[in-house]
């Protein structure tokens, strides 16, 4: 500043954190003011509430779960609410009751079981019943069947659908907002004020906050809905997986959001968004379809629960079904976080290199090279 007249602005530049937060704040504000967003969120909440209540009633049955109990196991079921006990003389009689469809399952004394009794069911163990029992007994199936219980299906679809909806809604929002800035050239003004990375971080953080708020809202609805319909036991079983889902979703969403922003930065017009974000859209949709078709296939769900893009759906489902060891969600979470960091670095590079290239689509190789 050699010329005394030229420094009207010796203001300290805002810190990166301040810039990031300003950008995030604008993202949130503009979304909250969009009627389309508010209405679609309200509809989503209503659907979720209806789903939870309907699912709760389906799982409950009016008079509790009909269960046959042999005399040597009677003591195990005393005091458990929500089951409807039919006495059976012995194990054979209990199995007959199951085959006849009079009861859903039987609790029988079993000396080979570590807790002294086992649960017998026809084709799948009633998940609700397992949740009601104080200790999880070994399950014996009379006619093992590929289809799981209705509740497993509902929970699987629930996690899958919520992930799909929230990730695609906010992933799409980020992509649109990046292209809007490029298309209107407001980005040229913005980056003369804040560093590119602050802009990207603000967008990802703003949308993550919105997406998480939506997820937590849905979780609250699930909890409230289950309490209202008197599904305390189911709630107990679902609470943990829902909490895990929220944690997994948080990192899974940041991962996707960084990639969506990067993909969108490669084009200059809204019409072209599809050409770079379609692969990501498939990544978002994959977990949903996988859980619909394979929710009863332990191998597929097991793999899903470790692949970063599907872990937010796969791992909570396995936790709900009780076939994940205590360390498994932690390991999967570590894998997810590492991938997430890699995606942020990669996304930031592509974003920085593509943001000011107007016109045609930026080639991925160019975007990575810089």
């Amino acid at each position: 500043m050699s010329t005394p007249t030229t420094s009207p602005t010796n203001r300290p530049a805002p810190s990166t954190a301040q810039s990031v937060w300003l950008v995030a704040e604008r993202e949130i504000g503009s979304k909250l003011r969009s009627k389309a967003f508010v209405i679609s969120t309200a509809i989503l909440f209503v659907i979720a509430l209806a789903g939870v209540i309907w699912g709760g009633f389906t799982a409950r049955d009016t008079s509790g779960i009909p269960v046959a109990v042999t005399p040597d196991a009677t003591s195990q079921v005393q005091g458990i609410e929500g089951i409807d006990i039919t006495d059976a003389a012995d194990r054979a009689a209990a199995e007959d009751l199951i085959r006849d469809g009079k009861v859903d399952a039987a609790i029988v004394g079993d000396s080979s079981s570590p807790i002294g009794y086992a649960l017998v069911a026809e084709s799948s163990a009633p998940t609700t019943l397992l949740l009601l029992l104080a200790k999880t007994p070994p399950v014996e199936l009379l006619e093992p069947d590929e289809t799981g219980g209705a509740l497993r299906y509902l929970v699987a679809i629930g996690f899958g659908a919520v992930f799909l909806l929230a990730a695609s809604l906010f992933g799409g929002t980020i992509a649109q907002s990046v292209v809007e800035e490029k298309q209107t050239r407001v980005v040229e003004i913005l980056i003369s004020a804040v560093p590119t990375r602050a802009l990207l971080a603000g967008k990802v953080i703003g949308n993550t906050i919105l997406a998480m708020a939506q997820i937590l809202g849905l979780a609250a609805i699930a909890v409230i809905g289950l309490s209202v319909t008197g599904q305390a036991a189911l709630l107990q079983g679902l609470g943990g997986p829902i909490a895990w889902f929220a944690v997994f979703f948080f990192f899974g969403f940041i991962l996707l959001a960084s990639l969506f922003a990067a993909a969108a930065a490669m084009v200059s017009r809204q019409e072209d968004i599809g050409s770079t974000t379609t692969p990501l859209t498939f990544l978002v949709m994959a977990p949903y379809f996988l859980v619909i078709f394979f929710n009863d296939n332990p191998l597929v769900v097991g793999i899903m629960s470790y692949v970063p893009f599907s872990a937010p759906v796969g791992m909570p489902l396995r936790l709900f079904l009780g076939d994940a060891q205590w360390w498994e969600p932690l390991l999967s979470l570590v894998i997810l976080i590492v991938t997430c960091v890699a995606a942020i670095l990669l996304g930031a590079k592509i974003y920085e290199n593509s943001l000011l290239r107007m016109g045609g689509r930026v080639k991925l190789a160019e975007a990575l090279r810089g």
């Binding site: 500043m1 050699s2 010329t3 007249t5 030229t6 420094s7 009207p8 602005t9 203001r11 300290p12 530049a13 805002p14 301040q18 810039s19 300003l22 950008v23 604008r26 503009s30 003011r33 969009s34 809007e180 800035e181 209107t184 050239r185 407001v186 980005v187 040229e188 003004i189 913005l190 980056i191 003369s192 004020a193 804040v194 560093p195 000011l356």
Partner: protein, 294 residues
């Protein structure tokens, strides 16, 4: 002082800027004129760092411009860019806050500036609902709200009505008076002529002329006179030392070799009849421009 030295830029083998060098001095308005595709926008984008250059330098007060220097730049891009769905005031406040102003100060500045630009009534309206001319004013506010030290405006007057041109011009002049270096491009040569202290003329990616308005004028002034008389002015051709540029009945525009020749013509005209007007002609910017870019 913003100084460009030897900037070149090629797009796929086609050279769009070739050795572009000029200064933009603080406290002055510099007009940047050139035809379509002459390289004005490319030059401005390079100064702002939104476009890379092949070679050359952009210096501010003797040191290469850094990205933190550019925080103190104000920019109005050629393709207008604001968020369509943001309210005018809110938008300008947002930009001021990105430049480090507190919320209260940002609001005060944005409000003052928008009022000066005549948008006081539209503060709460979405940008997309404004007319193009008003969007343009908002865009100018976006470039100015943080009191930039260097102000780069691409066609700030295009699409404005004459009153709006005056409003914007006065805001820019005020900015320059406070010490900013202001560079703006324009096709409206009359506006540039009226407003600018300095001029830079570009054509085909090279700088054809640069300097103060007076310098350029002096450099391109021929001894040219205009005569409007009652009779036929054809005789002027016969006067030694005169080159007629334009001629129509009693009207003639001509160049002379010396002031004395001009006086000879005037005396001759008075002898032959009524003289409505006889005056030396200063070249307009448009004339200089045409001459320079040829």
């Amino acid at each position: 002082m913003l100084r460009l030295t030897g900037i070149t830029k090629s797009y796929g083998g086609r050279r769009v800027l070739d050795d572009v060098s000029f200064d933009v001095a603080p406290g002055r308005l510099t007009g940047f004129v050139g035809g379509n595709g002459a390289g004005k926008t490319t030059t401005m984008r390079i100064v702002l760092g939104v476009l890379g250059k092949d070679s050359g330098g952009v210096d501010l007060d003797g040191a290469p411009v850094t990205s933190s220097d550019r925080r103190r730049f104000g920019y109005m891009p050629e393709e207008r860019g604001l968020y369509p769905k943001m309210k005018v005031l809110e938008h300008i406040v947002y930009l001021a806050r990105l430049h480090g102003f507190s919320k209260t100060e940002a609001t005060k500045r944005a409000q003052d500036l928008l009022e000066r630009l005549g948008l006081g009534e539209r503060l709460g309206d979405n940008v997309e609902t404004l007319s193009l001319g008003n969007q343009q004013r908002a865009q100018i506010a976006a470039a100015l709200v943080h009191d930039p030290e260097v102000l780069i405006l691409d066609e700030p007057f295009s699409g404005l009505d004459p009153l709006a041109v005056d409003v914007v011009a006065s805001v820019l002049q005020a900015r320059a008076a406070e010490g900013s270096a202001v560079l703006f491009s324009s096709h409206q040569l009359d506006v540039v002529e009226r407003l600018c202290d300095d001029l830079v003329i570009i054509a085909g990616g090279t700088i054809r002329a640069a300097g103060t308005r007076e310098e350029l004028r002096a450099r391109h002034t021929e001894k040219r006179y205009e005569l409007v008389s009652g009779g036929d002015a054809g005789w002027v051709r016969e006067v030694p030392g005169v080159t007629v540029v334009e001629f129509d009945g009693g009207y003639a525009v001509f160049d002379v070799d010396t002031e004395e020749t001009a006086q000879t013509v005037l005396r001759g005209a008075v002898q032959r009849g009524d003289v409505t007007s006889f005056a030396p002609q200063h070249p307009t910017l448009a004339q200089i421009f045409k001459e320079v870019i040829q």
